[in-house]
Symmetry: C2
Subunit: 317 residues, 2 copies
């Protein structure tokens, strides 16, 4: 791509044109970018909405990821929240703050990634704002539609329910270990860190199958199951014999140190979905059982006992 | 308020609690903060959505404004976009990035301002995200409901229509001139810069009265009428004899220099609403006629001729 100069040279309106022109909107986009606000169809009569902010140097590094991967990730982590309510993603709004000397190409590649990931989920970029700042900050708001189903909240798990997950666990954590040591392979783990691949359709499928509680695994499996346990006032037991520890993660741990099971239990950023289902429910395709909901006083356990280690991470801590 | 330490000491979850607990949500908030996503009622079957980002040192200064005023402004500029579509604001999502040593009190006061302004518009804070960054960045997404009316876009103005505004013009620009010179009064102008007071109900009222095009005056009256002219493929003539130049602005210009009419024509950040109406329409309360829609080849004019001066501003330029 030819050098298109800096965002300051192109100006706000030129930049907005560069990232919105000739893009394809889904049918739910009734009015796209270019007016004071966008208009999105909400046939259900309710809209599901979630915001996540990603900061350069904190949530992504441009020496580790391409702008396209960062754009995909920024959209993916938000749309995963929509799917985790059992809703179907419809649209994305982008708040972008960056230095004036940011290359225009970086922003258009970021936008390419955002459009690609939104498209994968059936959503469109319907609006946004671009402003000047010292540090690249990406704030995404994702919207979705429940299609007549009740939302699957964190609070509905009941003792006796099955705990299940859909999507990868531990891969992004292994990729982070690789990148921190200065390596770029195995590429599967590294790319998992660069850009998660949430299974968006698995959220509505779980809702359809009667899921009683659901969450997007962003902070780590145990941390996020802990949120379900707390909101639902139940205990949850994870069984390690039901957890797949992929050979690739074992390979990384052999090479670099680190415990692959710890990555699976506590690694964030893979954005798998975790949910609880009635014991009689048929798990939808792609979902696998990993444990059970227990009585409140049991707390969060692994193989029936406390897990010795960090459960996940909070920002700032 | 007692010193509550820094956001890093309190942690993400404690901070979220501090800014969401014991707040009052409107009836449209079906599920507020605390789950993967919020759920908002959209009885119209469409949702209006807009995002704006404010950066410390670019869009606000904490030596000029209190955190509460910044919070109000961040929400106001977004909700004004919703009103400018003719929609009724329902909710606000907040993406906040700030340094770890930011005082918790600053964030809770910011949140107080956000809640106050959202409440003034009948909306609630339904969700958000708080992360670490080097610079305070506030990204707001506002949602609204059209209540069965068609949206008022920028593109519907027709030659012969009346041009009208509702809300203050030039006050924020005068306030900026005052603050830049190191003064803190007259307080009316200074507070206008610190926090706009959009007339949210004037947007839906204009839609009800048959407005053909509408925009939120954020970049300056002429710049934003220029957007309507371009989108609608019409000319617009503003008549200065119809524009009120408040005595307070004349006073500021006498004391500090600057042209009060220029502030009225080009000053941004007051977030008045500007709209076009059929010539036979009765203007709703608070709206005043300031000009007329002309033929496309006339362009944007002031008293029938070109305006000599900057029309407004683009970010980065």
């Amino acid at each position: 791509m030819p050098d298109a100069g800096s965002v300051a040279e192109l100006g706000e309106f030129g930049l907005i044109r560069a990232v919105t022109e000739n893009r394809r909107q889904p049918a739910s986009t009734l009015l796209g970018p270019g007016d004071d606000a966008a208009i999105v169809a909400t046939p259900d009569g309710r809209v599901v909405a979630s915001t996540d902010v990603l900061v350069q140097g904190v949530h992504f590094r441009l020496d580790w990821s391409t702008p396209e991967q960062v754009g995909r990730k920024a959209v993916a982590v938000n749309l995963a929240d929509i799917a985790a309510m059992g809703a179907v993603p419809t649209s994305v709004l982008v708040g972008l703050a960056c230095p004036g000397d940011t290359p225009t190409n970086l922003i258009t590649e970021l936008a390419d990634g955002m459009w690609a990931e939104a498209g994968r989920a059936g959503a469109g970029l319907v609006g946004g704002d671009m402003v000047r700042s010292d540090q690249l900050v990406i704030s995404i708001t994702a919207l979705g539609d429940l299609r007549g189903r009740e939302p699957v909240k964190r609070s509905g798990a009941r003792p006796g329910d099955v705990v299940a997950v859909c999507g990868r666990l531990g891969w992004a954590a292994a990729g982070l270990a690789v990148l921190h040591r200065g390596f770029r392979s195995p590429i599967g783990a590294v790319n998992a860190q660069r850009c998660p691949e949430p299974q968006y359709a698995a959220g509505p499928a779980a809702a359809e199958a009667g899921a009683t509680a659901m969450i997007d695994v962003s902070d780590g499996l145990l941390a996020d199951l802990g949120h379900i346990a707390e909101s639902s006032n139940v205990g949850i037991d994870v069984r390690t014999d039901l957890l797949e520890v992929p050979q690739r993660l074992v390979d990384v741990s052999t090479a670099l140190g680190g415990d692959p099971l710890h990555w699976v239990l506590t690694g964030g950023e893979d954005h798998a979905l975790a949910a609880t289902f009635p014991s009689f429910a048929d798990l939808p395709e792609g979902w696998r059982r990993i444990g059970a909901v227990t009585m409140p006083d049991s707390g969060l356990t692994v193989d029936g006992g406390p897990y010795r280690g960090e459960k996940g991470w909070e920002h700032w801590r």
